[in-house]
Amino acid sequence: MPPRLRRLVAWAAASVVVVLFVAVLGVVAIAPAAESAPGAGQGQGQGGLVAVLFYVLSLLTLLGAALVAFVRNIVYSALGLLASLLGAGSLYVLLSADFVAIAQLLVYVGGVMVLVLFAVLLTNKITEVNVSNSSFGLFGGLLLLVAMVPVLVAVAVLTPWRTSVPGPLAPTTEALGDALLTHWLLPFEVASLVLLATLIGAVIIARKELKAD
């Protein structure tokens, strides 16, 4: 009971730290910067709804990410990764990137998560929680977080980005297809080659019977 309780308390403390950090940043640091930024006042009419959606979705994303980083049981980590990827995909919708959001859902949530869960279930005995995901230590991770996050956040908030006023949400799929097949044709083809090499390589690496031949 005490180790489980201690783990629970440590985990709750970590999530509370992250959430408080986001909240304090949003109120203290970002709000004045956002109000003084050019063109910040002109949203798309329903700014309040978008703000609430943004906060809920980013909370989902960051809580899932905290689960991935700090929970010992790796099955819970995989489910946290699922929540985090879902939240990030929904944030893309708020950013008018509809096709990227759908691709995120299909590729990450549909494909990569299934792969990760397969790997988790194939490589671990689920009952042995301590063996399955021994961690370097909550303290080291939190220390790294505390050391790194303020720098990144300060750069993101204090830099005077030359933002333009974003237009209303619009479908981007047609423009995306045009760009992929004209301006970014070479990277597109190279990506297809990479996928082919990945397909063959993954099969060859994961196959057992190859040594028998």
């Binding site: 980013s58 944030l91 790997a119 996050v149 994961a206």
Partner: protein, 102 residues
């Protein structure tokens, strides 16, 4: 209050930081790969947010798509390597995976 570019950049930065913590602290190879996915997602949030608020075109979305494609490829190969490692040594602790050292 209106959501600005900095909000999305902070979310991306926190995702990146949590992913880096995961990569640095996990011993389980699958956990390390999950951390890499978080890092790539943080970068992707930045790509899309910059395209929306600064670029105004579609190039950032294209790069987000490429990141998604390469992340899928990385996950497939990485997890295949993890499975091969597990078949040979029955252990996916990244600190004990030193078969190629000698």
């Amino acid at each position: 209050m209106t959501i600005s570019l900095a909000h999305y950049l902070v979310v991306g930065a926190l995702l990146f930081a949590l992913g880096l913590v995961t990569v640095a602290t996990r011993r389980n190879a699958v956990g390390v790969l999950m951390g890499v996915e978080l890092i790539l997602n943080g970068a992707n949030v930045n790509f899309v947010a910059f395209e929306r608020y600064v670029g105004g075109g579609v190039g950032g979305f294209v790069f987000a798509l490429f990141v998604i494609v390469l992340a899928a490829a990385e996950a497939a190969v990485g997890l295949a390597i993890v499975l091969a490692l597990f078949q040979t040594s029955k252990n996916i602790d990244v600190r004990q995976a030193d078969l190629l050292r000698e």
